[in-house]
Each structure stands twice: as structure tokens, then as C-alpha cells.
């Protein structure tokens, strides 16, 4: 516990960094921007809300996970957890042999696996249990398996203080932070246009009068290093993970961190940036073969010439295959709880039986 507090103290700057980045894009809560965006950027603005980022959180009454699972229950040790949905209202209950605490679910975080931020007696909690599609049911929230609640109130979940609350809402919702303060009144679920594209509203207003000078910066022009840090504001940048001394298999969730640990990561080469492989405006592509062309952009040998080979700066070609690259070089890793699987973005030659590179 003390170690954790020290980490909190020493990593205060990290929180500030994260919040600063979030703040820059959410300081002016002006909802309904997307409607205006659609008029010029129809394709992206229409598909983005259906992506996992667009559905990073849901409000009561618009949560497909709970609508499809109106009653979820699990018993963990002496406590039984129940999540019930009736109409537009969902509740989270925890019971022991003597009593039950029931709280309404106001904030649903996650589009597949889902965790709830709860309020009880003036405190906020990350729910002790979460919904996992892999089991179509509840289990301990990832990372909270070792919590040892001493009473029913503590069994609700892990208490989250204001700095962490801001980080949660800052990443899973839009317009929930104004000048660094939590402003849930203006919150909109999910990641909306202005969450990433700071200054969208000014641009909308100016563009209506033919002035395009305030067009938000084109994020595609950022270097791979900067894009990695930009996406890493929520997906955890390499710096954030290192500053917090996070290690272990759970870090497979932090793609920018894992990618930056790859031998081939080059912060100045656009072929290895997050957006070289992923378009955040459309749904994540699950077909591994789709990514072959991204790998072959460097590893085809076509770009290698005598000078680059002599200089040793050409990307080697694979001796085993020309397709299905990520099957071998970006293995799927299950979290220790076995409930979620992530693609390891630390690109490497995987050797049989080797431990998770940490």
C-alpha cells in the first residue's frame, strides 16, 4: 500500500502529463460537434462513433452489453455481485450473508469488456467485477484480483481518487474535463471528434464563413514518435509505463509502450506509426492478413539497396513466409486472468517457450 502511495506521489507528474494532453483537447465543452463534422467529413464522422473508441463508454439506456445481459451475477469469496438492468436503469449490487449494497450504474466504461464507475457514500469506485465477453459473464476486474476487501463497502470495488477519476473520464468520455476540472454535466460518452482534434468547434464556425485558417492540425503529419505519445495519452505511452514502473504481462494492453520496445520502432519513420496500421475512424480490423502489406512496406527487401545493406539500415526479409506476419511476430497474449487476449505490439522474432518479454 505504502509502495503504491509512493508511486502515486512520484508519478504525480505523469497524471499531470496525461491530464495536460487530455485537457488540451477537451477544454471547451461544446457538444454536438459531430453533427457539423458530418457535413464535410461524412465518411469518417459516420463510422467513428461505431468504433471501440467511439463506444469507449455508454450512458444508462444505451448500453448494449447490459441490454443483452439483463441479469449478471457472480460469487467471489464471501461476496455475491449482481448487475441488473430494467428498462433504462442498471444497478450494481454486492451482498454478503448479512446485507446488500445496491448502487445505480451511471457510467459504463468499455465497449466489449465493461467496467463500471460507481458512487457510494461520496466516494467513487472502479467496480470490483467486470463483464467479459469471453465468458459472457462477470469476473474480477483486470488487475483488481488481489484486492482483499475487509467489509461490504470495500467489496464494491477499488476506490478511485480524483486524479485517477479524471484520467478514467478523460479517456473514456469526451467533454468531461474543463480546464483540468471534472465537468460531468457536459460529458458525452465515448471518444468524439474534438477529443483528438483540438479546436474542432472553432474550425466548424470559421469554415462556415469560408475561413479555413483555424483548421485543426493534421495529426497524420506528426512523427511516429509523436503519434505514439498522442495515442499513448490513453493507450499508455512508453514514457507513462516506464515512469510508473509497470511491468508484467498486463502491459500487453499498452500498445504504444510495447511497440516502442520493438527493435524496428523508428520514431521518424511513418511506416511504423500507430496510424500506419490503424485508422481510428473505422472499426479495428481483426483479419491478421490485412496487416501483411504494412510489414512488407519495410521488410519486403524492395527498398533495400547496396548502400543501405552496407550501412546495415535495411529491414531484413523474413526467411519463413511472406504473409501472415503478425501471426508469428506479434503473438496473441492472454492476460493472467485468462479473460482477455491482446495482440502484443512488441514486434519480434518469437522463440518457442520464451517468457513474455518484460
Amino acid at each position: 500500500m505504502i509502495r503504491r502511495q509512493l508511486h502515486i506521489l512520484s508519478s504525480l507528474a505523469v497524471f499531470v502529463i496525461v491530464l495536460a494532453g487530455i485537457k488540451s483537447s477537451t477544454s471547451a465543452p461544446r457538444p454536438k460537434t459531430e453533427t457539423a463534422c458530418v457535413s464535410c467529413h461524412r465518411e469518417r464522422a459516420e463510422t467513428q462513433p461505431e468504433t471501440p473508441m467511439g463506444r469507449a463508454s455508454a450512458l444508462p439506456g444505451s448500453n448494449p452489453v447490459l441490454e443483452q445481459n439483463p441479469r449478471l451475477t457472480v460469487t467471489k469469496g464471501p461476496y455475491t455481485y449482481t448487475v441488473e438492468t430494467r428498462g433504462n436503469e442498471s444497478t450494481y449490487s454486492v451482498s454478503d450473508s448479512a446485507r446488500t449494497i445496491t448502487v445505480p450504474i451511471h457510467w459504463n466504461f468499455g465497449s466489449g469488456a465493461q467496467t463500471w464507475v460507481l458512487e457510494h457514500d461520496g466516494k467513487r469506485y472502479e467496480s470490483a467485477v467486470s463483464y467479459y465477453p469471453s465468458i459472457r459473464g462477470l469476473d474480477f476486474t483486470t488487475g483488481d484480483e488481489d484486492l482483499k476487501p475487509q467489509n461490504l463497502d470495500e467489496a464494491i470495488g477499488r476506490e478511485i481518487l480524483m486524479p485517477e477519476t479524471k484520467v478514467c473520464f478523460g479517456c473514456h468520455t469526451s467533454h468531461s474535463l474543463t480546464n483540468g476540472e471534472l465537468t460531468l454535466g457536459s460529458m458525452r460518452p465515448g471518444v468524439t471528434c474534438e477529443h483528438c482534434h483540438a479546436g474542432t468547434m472553432e474550425h466548424v464556425s470559421d469554415a462556415a464563413s469560408g475561413d479555413f485558417s483555424s483548421t485543426p492540425p493534421d495529426l497524420r503529419k506528426l512523427t511516429s514518435e509523436d503519434i505514439s505519445n498522442f495515442c499513448g495519452q490513453c493507450h499508455r505511452s512508453w514514457e507513462t509505463v516506464v515512469r510508473n514502473h509497470w511491468r508484467g504481462r498486463l502491459t500487453v494492453r499498452f500498445q504504444p509502450y510495447r511497440l516502442a520496445n520493438s527493435k524496428c520502432f523508428d520514431g521518424a519513420d511513418p511506416r511504423i506509426s500507430c496510424i500506419a496500421c490503424h485508422d481510428p475512424h473505422v472499426n479495428i480490423v481483426r483479419d491478421d492478413a490485412t496487416y501483411d502489406s504494412k510489414c512488407l512496406a519495410c521488410h519486403s527487401g524492395a527498398r533495400a539497396n547496396a548502400a543501405s545493406i552496407l550501412a546495415g539500415d535495411h529491414a531484413p526479409t523474413c526467411k519463413v513466409a511472406k504473409s501472415g506476419c503478425v501471426n508469428c511476430h506479434m503473438p496473441k497474449v492472454k492476460l493472467p486472468n485468462g479473460l482477455m487476449t491482446f495482440t502484443d505490439h512488441e514486434i519480434r522474432i518469437v522463440k518457442a517457450g520464451e517468457p513474455f518479454p518484460d
Partner: protein, 380 residues
């Protein structure tokens, strides 16, 4: 040869033979006596130690080690007994021998670090204590308090005041005591001394500053504010008092923190640390351009301050001049090779420059630096 002659020689031969047998027996006995002597000596040493006859125990352990210098426990006993007896130089020497045989022995590193603290070898002491902590020496509350307290005092003594204040944060749940307040005050007012190096009439000032900072760390911000107001009212002005208040406010109220840093600069225009903190505020907003003037001033005032070189390196990198940024970041890393922030910033700067091998080297170094002090990545 006559009988007489034979007889005359017989005693002599017998004597020789006897002497040979005796010699052989002696050699044989000597050959068997060594292990017996070693185990007896160890047993006697242990017995002396158990009845608290420390000088005798140390003497016997030394005898045992003459018979077997690879006996690690012997060095440990001598080291710990000499430490207990207050002979820190001898304890340090013995523990070093022990650590040659058991490199990652956290308790030995911890005690050697405490010995080095007493003998004034502060950089070595801090290194040992931090390594001991990383290896789990703080397995009991009492041990952890001792080690954390020494770590913080050493950081202060070595001019790593910000680190020291963070380290003192460990005690925020304790009641506190006058000595701790003085120690916190020394870190807060950026005075590279140990409490024992202060004269009695200096302690009140540092104790007051320490109490103000300690109240803040414990969450009593109103109490802290009152204490700081008293500090600010003193004449002549207390150097670094506004800086300290600003530093404490910085994590949660950067605007108010900036005001305090600027007040510090009004009273002390050559305060490079205040310039550094004013540079950090825009840097945490990813705004290198706004940080640049403060960072440049900090380096101008005190180029030997590692944090000044660090903020200038970062400000240059963030504002698009990674090449010049690297130069200052390298200086930081030269001054403080174990400064994680310097290596993180170097990795980023090299990466921006497309020097991927250099970036990777720095990244791997950062992972190596943090591998013994890991934390689980808990929340989703």
C-alpha cells in the same frame, strides 16, 4: 659393526625413528586439527556472540575466517557486530567481503549503506540503501522507516532536494517528530546538510519549514498555509520558502505554484530551481516553446544544475529542436547517470531524430533501471 657399536647407535636410531613417528603423528594430527579447529572456533564465536561478548566474538570470527575466508556467514557476523559496536569502517569492510560472496543480499547492502552514511561516504551510501530497498530490505515497518529516512537525508545531502521531499512523503502518515521536521525543512529549503550538521540555533528555522511542508504532505493544507504565511513574514526573507510552497502546490494547483515560484524569483532572482519549475509547468502541457525562456534562464544561472539541463533539453526537443535538446539531455545524464527522466527524454529525442539505435539503447537502459522496482499495472 660391533654390538657395542650397534648399541651405541641404537639410541640414536630409536630417537630418529621416534622423532619420525612423532613428526608423522604431529603432521597427521595437524591435518585433522584444521577442520576441527574451524568448527570449534565458529562454535566458540557463536557462543560468545550469544552471551553478548562482542569483542571476543569478533576476534573468534576473525580467527575462523583466517582458516576459511570464503565462509560468508563469518563476514556477515563481523559486519553486523561491528555495526552494532559502532565501528562503521570495519563493519563496512566486512560487509563488502560478505557482498562479494552474496551480491544481492539486501540486509547486507542496507547495513553497509548505513555504515557509509556514518563514515560520510554519502553517494555510496545512497546507492547501497536504494539498492537494498529495491531488493526488498524494507520487509519490516521499522526497517523501512530507517532506510527511507536515511534515503531522504542522503538525497538532501547530495542536493537531490525534490527526490528527498518525495521520499519524505513516505512519513506523511506518521505523527512526525522534531528531528524529522528539521530534516524535511533542510530538503524543503534546499540546504545540502544533514540534521546533525546544523548548529542548535539553526534548527528552529528548518524545523518550522519542515512542519509547514509536513502538514501539507499529511493533507492539512490550511495548517500548512498558516505555517507558510509565518515563514513568508520573517525578515530577512527565508530563501526557498516560496519555492517550497510552490513545489508542494505544483501537483494539484500548478497556477498557484507558478505564483509562488515567481515570488521566489522576486526575492531571489538567481534561483535556478524556481526557473526550472516554471519551465516544467508548460512542459507538462507539452508546450516546449513557453518553457524555453525559463529553461534557458535556469541554465544561464546555474549550468551545473542537472534539472536545469534537463528542462532545457526537453523544452528544445518539444519545440522542434531535438538536436540541441540532445546535447543538454546528455549533460544531464553525465551529471546524474541514474536520472531516469534524463534517459526517458533522451530516448524520445533520439527517436524524433530517427536515431533508432540510440533511442533503443536509452529505452533498454530505462527498463534496466526500473526492473528491480516494479509495480503492477492495475487499473483497466
Amino acid at each position: 659393526m660391533s654390538q657395542a657399536e650397534y648399541r651405541g647407535r641404537t639410541p640414536s636410531l630409536l630417537a630418529i625413528a621416534t622423532a619420525c613417528v612423532f613428526l608423522a603423528l604431529c603432521l597427521s594430527a595437524l591435518g585433522q586439527a584444521n577442520p576441527a579447529s574451524f568448527s570449534d572456533t565458529v562454535a566458540n564465536a557463536n557462543a560468545a556472540r550469544e552471551v553478548n561478548d562482542i569483542p571476543h566474538a569478533i576476534d573468534l570470527y576473525q580467527q575462523a575466517l583466517k582458516l576459511n575466508s570464503q565462509w560468508a556467514d563469518g563476514w556477515w557476523f563481523i559486519g553486523s557486530l561491528e555495526y552494532g559496536a559502532g565501528d562503521y569502517a570495519k563493519a563496512e569492510e566486512a560487509l563488502s567481503r560478505y557482498l562479494e560472496l552474496n551480491q544481492n543480499a539486501a540486509p547486507a547492502l542496507a547495513i553497509r549503506g548505513l555504515c557509509e552514511f556514518e563514515t560520510g561516504e554519502y553517494p555510496k551510501s545512497l546507492k547501497d540503501i536504494q539498492q537494498a530497498l529495491a531488493l526488498g530490505a524494507a520487509n519490516q515497518s521499522k526497517n523501512e522507516k530507517i532506510l527511507r529516512y536515511h534515503e531522504a537525508m542522503l538525497e538532501t545531502r547530495l542536493g537531490r532536494f525534490e527526490d528527498a521531499l518525495r521520499s519524505y512523503g513516505f512519513f506523511a502518515h506518521d505523527e512526525g517528530n522534531p528531528e524529522l521536521m528539521v530534516a524535511v525543512g533542510l530538503a524543503g529549503l534546499r540546504t545540502p546538510l544533514l540534521p546533525r550538521e546544523l548548529k542548535d540555533d539553526q534548527k528552529e528555522l528548518f524545523g518550522s519549514a519542515g512542519k509547514a511542508a509536513f502538514d501539507f504532505m499529511r493533507g492539512d493544507k490550511d495548517g500548512a498555509h498558516g505555517e507558510f504565511e509565518k515563514m513568508f513574514a520573517r525578515t530577512p526573507p527565508v530563501a526557498n520558502a516560496h519555492f517550497l510552497y510552490g513545489f508542494l502546490l505544483y501537483g494539484t494547483e500548478p497556477g498557484e505554484a507558478a505564483t509562488e515560484f515567481k515570488r521566489e524569483l522576486e526575492e531571489n532572482p538567481k534561483n535556478a530551481a524556481a526557473e526550472v519549475m516554471l519551465a516544467w509547468i508548460p512542459l507538462l502541457d507539452n508546450d516546449g516553446s513557453d518553457a524555453l525562456p525559463y529553461a534557458k534562464k535556469a541554465v544561464e544561472v546555474d549550468p551545473s544544475l542537472p534539472s536545469a539541463q534537463l528542462v532545457l533539453g526537453r523544452a528544445l526537443t518539444e519545440s522542434g529542436d531535438a538536436r540541441d535538446g540532445v546535447e543538454h539531455l546528455q549533460k544531464t545524464a553525465q551529471m546524474q547517470p541514474d536520472n531516469l527522466e534524463a534517459h526517458i527524454a533522451l530516448a524520445k529525442a533520439y527517436s524524433k531524430l530517427g536515431q533508432k539505435d540510440d533511442a533503443r539503447r536509452e529505452r533498454m537502459l530505462c527498463l534496466e533501471m526500473t526492473k528491480n522496482d516494479t509495480a503492477p499495472a492495475t487499473h483497466p
